[in-house]
Amino acid sequence: MKYDIRYKPSFATLFLTLQPGEQIFAEAGAMASMSGKLSMDTTFFGGLIPGLLKSFLGGESLFLNEFSNKTQSPQEIVLTQSSVGDITQIQLNGREICLQPGAYIAHTRGTKVQLRWAGFASWFAGEGLFKLKLSGKGMVFFGAYGGLSTVEVQDSFVVDNGHLVAYEPGIKMNIGMSGGLLGSVTSGEGFINRLEGRGKIYLQSRSVDGLVRFLRTQLGYVTELFLLTLCCFNL
């Protein structure tokens, strides 16, 4: 399989050429365009029940699309992500990687996709009860909102949960608030994640939550107007 990530880092997009008999699995909605000769099948993400669980509790799509080349000549497909930012790839070769919700884009054959219990703290932080764990011999593509940085965690490290994209499973996560409830709210740091262990982590330079928080303040008057109206009716 030939692949090329173009328009890095702001608009990274994955251009793939599938040889006859090859296939790629991609997140629902990731296909931007493709040759009309490729076949597409929709399957449940990791089986029906885990798929359902993931959809309701993990905040990601229930479905996965399989694009396969059943012709005799190479065919092209373009995959992308919903947010603007960088895309990277990992050749697993026995390694494992955990992806935060929204990061996953595609994987090749030979990759095992599992759901991993993330814990209530993660759910509380708006990240879902489950995480994706990918293992095996295939290749995984994932993306970020903004640029991607990698950090080799040696012992322990603290990250803002909204900026964490992926991490190796040797790392244990402890999601908590930065300095108590009041401190967490006032500092604007939200949920922090104390990582412990050894392994590589991937961080995104912007967070969707940050953008949402900014936009919320710009929309604020709507809520206030609504409350004001309620008060008027009560009077």
Binding site: T13, A32, S35, V78, S82, V84, V208, V212
Partner: protein, 225 residues
Amino acid sequence: MKLELLHQPDSAIAKVHMGPQEELLAEAGAMVAMSSHINVSTTLRKGKGGGVFGGLKRMMGGESLFMSVFRSGSSAAELYLAPKLMGDILPYTLSGTELVIQSSSYLASTPSVQIDLGFTGFKSLFSGESLFWLTANGSGLVMLNAFGSIYEIEVDGDYVVDTGHIVAFERSLDYSISKANKSWAGAFFSGEGFVCQFRGRAKVWCQTHNPGAFGRKVGGKLPPR
């Protein structure tokens, strides 16, 4: 008229050098800055897709009811135009050919280009995108904008594009909007929704990112209006 594109591809802005007595039409709200002697007027397009009804249709298509007309007058002028979203701008020179443009991708055009609103029919209403197509005829310059970068595909045979990723295509292509999957359930669950199937030999321009998908990702976390 001379066109200069700055800050491509992530924050493209068009710097237009206008000669005396020149005119440019643009999407309302696209003007960033201009020489003070430029005369600006607002118009509802006339002809097919114009007038009040055409303007209403354009509004339904997610476009402004109005268009801006910039006239340089007696001396040369400068005009800066930019789209709303981050992304690239594509200049296209029409010479007797016809171009079909996804309406939200239209940025500006010279007056010798005729822009018409073409309605593809009921099918596109279900696609969830503001699938109102503009057709550009005549000869002159059209400026298109995109969310993300723009990549060109030379279609030779069959090619499929997600409706949210189409910027424009040459009219000589045969196109039909259909569901991405054979079954309705599959089309609904696959997340690909509707796709445009192109047939023939001509060019189609795609945007790397889908404005609707990003809008839903961010908009879904905002309080309801």
